[in-house]
Structures are given as C-alpha cells and as structure tokens.
C-alpha cells in the first residue's frame, strides 16, 4: 500500500468537503438537532408532561431488569428521563456516523465525477485497491470525528445544562462507550463499504446521497423497535450488534476490494 498517496487523498477529500456548504450544513445541523435539541426537548417535555407521564409507565415496567436497575430508585420522571437519555438516544446516535458517511462518500466519488475531477485522480500511480481504501478511509475518519464531537456535545448538554435532573452523570456508561467506540465505527464502516460501491456507480452527488439515505432505515427501525418495547439495546446487545456489523462491513469491503475497478468508474464519467 502506498500510504502517502492514500493519506494525500484522504486529506484532499476532507479539505474539499469542509469547503462545501451543501455537505457541511447537514454535518453540523444533524448533531445539534439530535444531541442538543432532542435531550432538551426530552427533558423539558417530560417535566411539562404532568399526569401524562403515566403513559410511559408500561414502557418502563417492560424494561429488562438489567436496565431497570440502572435507572435508579427515583420517581417516574427521573426514571423516564434516565431511560430516554441513557438508552433510547444511544440508538439514535447511530444515525450520526451513517449520515456523515453518506454525505462524504457521495461527495467523494459521485461528487468527483460531477465536478469532473475524478479522471485526473485515475491517472495517478495509485492502484485500484489504494484508491478504494483511500475513498473508504476519508469518510470513515470524518464519521469518527463527528461521532466523537457529537458525543462530547451530548455529554455537555446532559451533564452541564441538564445537570441534576437525574442526580448522576448521564451517558458515561459502558453502553455509551460501546456505542461510540465500537458500534458507531462499525456502522460507519458498513455504511461506507456499501456507499462507495453505490457512489462509484452513479453519476452525481444527489443520486448517491439519496441512495445512501436508504442505509439509515435499519437504524430508524432499531430506534422504533426500542420505542415500541420490542427490543432493548443494552451493553451486551451493543457489543453483539457491533461485532455483527463489523463482520458484515469487512465482508462487504472485501467484496468491494475485489469488484472495484478504475474501468467501471470511467464508463460512468
């Protein structure tokens, strides 16, 4: 592997992405909406719910014992806040790496084709594998950075702005560490491995971005299932989900390595 070339492509891709408003706006807005707006809404919404808070009782009672034990002995308001902020939003968190990946990967290949910058890259002495790897690595690094920044933002909002509402530090749990450091990078890798293939087969950024949007659906389904009480993601499940995600991601990547050809990209320029 020619690492200097790979790093040069990653650096270049991230530099040009950072200068594109159409790409950067969703990357900035989404974490703010999800990890500043949503916890504030949850917290103040529950506060203002009054007697309607009782509607959440069946959900809390249906939780596995391992989760209920972690919610503490506080009143229903405290338990509901703890559940939503510590468990429910943890699955929401997976939307961030997927979103970052889909935006950047779409810009990285399909966007390059649209801007007619891809051909000169294909004439460089990189191999197909190096090119494929570089195009995976850039968005993955960006997804990791945005994920960590989002987590930092979420910690700040929950533990500084909403301090004391639960009576203990929020989101500093094995579940969150697993989601942020294990599951999210895996989800990003899986999303990317699919998106780079999709992105290399379409002609423009919008087309690739829209195709990438489909990838968010499994995460939305996971969030919905958890809201409906069909499924509860605890640390053990997050570890297993992460492992499964990584296995599939590495499989799709290996497939991508085998299928990725300059020739196919050129046919669509």
């Amino acid at each position: 592997m020619n690492w200097p070339s790979i790093f040069a492509i990653v650096r270049r891709d991230l530099t040009v992405v950072a200068r594109a408003k159409a790409v950067m706006i969703p990357l900035v807005v989404l974490p703010i909406v999800l990890f500043v707006g949503l916890p504030l809404l949850v917290s103040f919404g529950l506060d203002a719910a009054g007697s309607e808070l009782e509607d959440l009782l069946p959900l809390i009672e249906a939780l596995p014992e391992s989760i209920r034990a972690h919610l503490g002995d506080g009143d229903l308001l405290e338990q509901a806040q703890a559940y939503l902020l510590e468990y429910q939003l943890a699955t929401f968190f997976l939307i961030v790496p997927l979103m970052v990946c889909s935006v950047i990967a779409a810009d990285s290949f399909a966007g390059e084709k649209e801007r007619k910058t891809l051909e000169s890259l294909l004439y460089t002495p990189t191999t197909d594998r190096e090119l494929y790897f570089a195009k995976l690595l850039g968005p993955w690094v960006a997804a990791l950075v945005v994920t960590l920044a989002s987590y930092g933002l979420y910690l700040a909002v929950c533990n500084l702005v909403l301090a004391g509402s639960i009576g203990r530090p929020v989101a500093l749990t094995p579940l969150w560490f697993t989601v942020v450091l294990w599951l999210s990078p895996g989800v990003a890798a899986l999303g990317l491995s699919v998106l780079v293939v999709v992105s290399s087969r379409v002609r423009g950024f919008q087309e690739a971005y829209q195709a990438g949007g489909v990838l968010v659906l499994p995460v939305v389904a996971l969030v919905a299932a958890q809201f409906a009480g069909l499924l509860f993601v605890d640390t053990a499940m997050a570890v297993l989900l992460g492992a499964a995600t990584w296995v599939v991601a590495l499989g799709v990547m290996a497939l991508g390595f085998g299928l990725f050809r300059r020739e196919r990209l050129l046919e669509r320029i």
Binding site: N2, P4, S5, F7, A8, I9, R11, R12, T15, V16, R19, A20, R115, K116, T117, L118, E119, S120, L121, L122, Y123, T124, P125, T126, T127, R262, E263, L266, E267
Partner: protein, 312 residues
C-alpha cells in the same frame, strides 16, 4: 518493440455494442512527438486510457515504455503525465494546495515539492493567483494549471489531450513552444490528441489518424499528405502566345481558374499527376517557365482521407 515508447498492435476495445477501437496498431519511438488525430468519438481518448492502464483492451497488445498497462498500470502511470481533455481540477482548492496534492500522489520528494511547484506556477504564469481558489480561474488558467500538473513529476512520456483548446492565441503559442522544448531539449516523448491540424503539422514528427476506431493513416505529415493524394492549386507560367494551348492541356488535369497572359491558375491537380502535366506541356512544345504547386496542408489531407473513408 522493446525500444518503442508506445506499442499498440491489433487492439480492439468495445463499450457495450459500440466498438471504440477496432484492430488499431501504431508505435511511437522515444523522443518523438506524435499526433493522434480524429473527429470526436474516433477513439483518441480511449487510446490514451488504454496506454495508461485505465482500460483494458478486449483484444490485441498494448505496451507503454515496455510495460503492460493492464498488469503494471500503477508503474506505467508513475512515468506518464496526462493532460486530460477537461482540466480535471477541484474548484474548492487553490493552485498551491492542488499542486502539493498531486506532488504527494506522484511521490515527488518532499524537499523538492515547494521549489518545483513554485517553478511550474511561475512558468505557467499562475504564481500571482496561486493562493486563489481554482473556481475563480478562467478556462485558460485552468488549462495552464493542468499542464503544470502534468509536468510536476517530470515524466518522460506525455499525453496531451487538446493542450491548446481553451487557450488564447498567445498562451497557445507558448504551449506549442513548450511542447517543442519538451521534445527537443528534454527528449520527452509526446502523444498529442488535437483537432487543431495546423498545430499538429507544426509540432508532430508523425501523425496517426483515427476514424471510427480504425487507423486511417500513419506516417510523417509529408507521408500522410502524399498518401492522401490531395488535389492542389497550381500556378503555371508559360510563353504568353502559348497560353491557349497550355490552358487546353491543363484542363485535362484540373480546373483552370484564371488565365492572365502566360500565368495560368489551375485547381484540383493531384500531386502525383503533376509530372505528367509538365511532360504533356513540354511534349506539346510549350515553353514552361515556372510550375508552382501550393503545398497541401495536413488539414486538406485529413479532410480528404476522412471523405474517402466515409465513401468506403
């Protein structure tokens, strides 16, 4: 073949049902400047892509500097510089950033990057705007920057796809001068794809004309012009009193356009019939003082070959 910079033999390349190249063959020696000519869709860009390992042929053999681009594509591209038909530059970068990026891609030694980039930006008159985003550049500036990129890693083999297409006359002249310097002084091999036949005639040692993926002609410009048998315009000067006789004879060889005393202007005489025309005049006792055929241009030869190709 081992000594050829480029070797293409019996190459066929298809895209779906369309045959872009059909049994194409030609060679380029080291240090030569060769023009690859043809209408849009003739197969010029496909040929460059094949020679750089971006595409694989469906049949035939391709060698670039003795290497097989299909199996050694990265190594081939390490030694080639390609000016693509569109400049292929990112609007969101400035010239310095773009050149540093390309330098990293071609493994230019780190301690040489700054000076080499500065030299090239100055050579292509971009140094003053090197810190500006490329999105604000004119077409000519983009083309110059793309040319600078092509030379960044000092490649011995250059592929220039329409190098002067977007340039003003002065910049185009500078590029032609640069190509001459690159070939003559630096001994680089250059393959130029161009629609500008005057430029091709001026720069190229040889030309290869492609038509619908097939080689229509291959040789020096003189050979191609000769092979095209292009009719030329001709000025004959004979004794004034013999002009009528000379006109009658000349009419058998071409179209007599004008007669002014003993000066006869004849159009459409093919080059290989000229000696017979002169012999006929001399046999008829006409005193011939001057025979001045206009030199046919590569453009005329190209159009003639294309028309003949279309008829076939």
């Amino acid at each position: 073949m081992a000594d050829a910079a480029l070797h293409v033999r019996g190459v066929t390349r298809r895209f779906g049902d369309v045959t872009a190249l059909d049994d194409v063959g030609f060679g380029v020696e080291y240090g030569q400047v060769v023009g690859l000519l043809g209408h849009n869709g003739a197969g010029k860009t496909t040929t460059i892509r094949l020679l750089n390992g971006l595409l694989a042929p469906h049949a035939g053999e391709v060698r670039t500097m003795g290497l097989d681009p299909v199996t050694d594509g990265a190594e081939v591209r390490r030694h080639t510089g390609v000016l693509t038909e569109t400049p292929s530059l990112d609007d969101r970068m400035d010239a310095w950033e773009a050149m540093r990026f390309w330098a990293a891609m071609w493994g230019v030694p780190k301690d040489a990057v700054e000076s080499r980039v500065r030299d090239l930006l100055e050579r292509f008159q971009l140094a003053d705007r090197a810190g500006d985003r490329i999105g604000g550049y004119s077409r000519g500036m983009r083309q110059r920057l793309a040319l600078a990129r092509t030379l960044l890693h000092d490649p011995p083999l250059l592929f220039l796809d329409e190098p002067t297409a977007a340039l003003d006359p002065v910049a185009a002249r500078d590029v032609r001068s640069l190509v001459r310097t690159l070939a003559a002084e630096d001994r680089r091999t250059v393959l130029i794809c161009t629609h500008n036949l005057v430029e091709a005639q001026e720069l190229c040692d040889r030309v290869v004309i492609l038509r619908r993926g097939r080689v229509l002609a291959d040789g020096t410009t003189a050979e191609v012009i000769g092979a095209a048998a292009v009719p030329v315009a001709l000025l004959l000067e004979v004794e004034d009193e013999q002009a009528a006789e000379a006109r009658r004879i000349a009419a058998d060889f071409g179209d007599v356009r004008r007669v002014e005393g003993g000066r006869i202007h004849v159009d459409g005489v093919t080059r290989h019939r000229l000696p017979r025309l002169v012999a006929s005049l001399v046999d008829a006792g006409v005193a011939v003082y001057r025979v001045a055929p206009e030199e046919p241009s590569l453009e005329a030869a190209y159009l003639s070959l294309y028309e003949k190709g279309a008829e076939e």
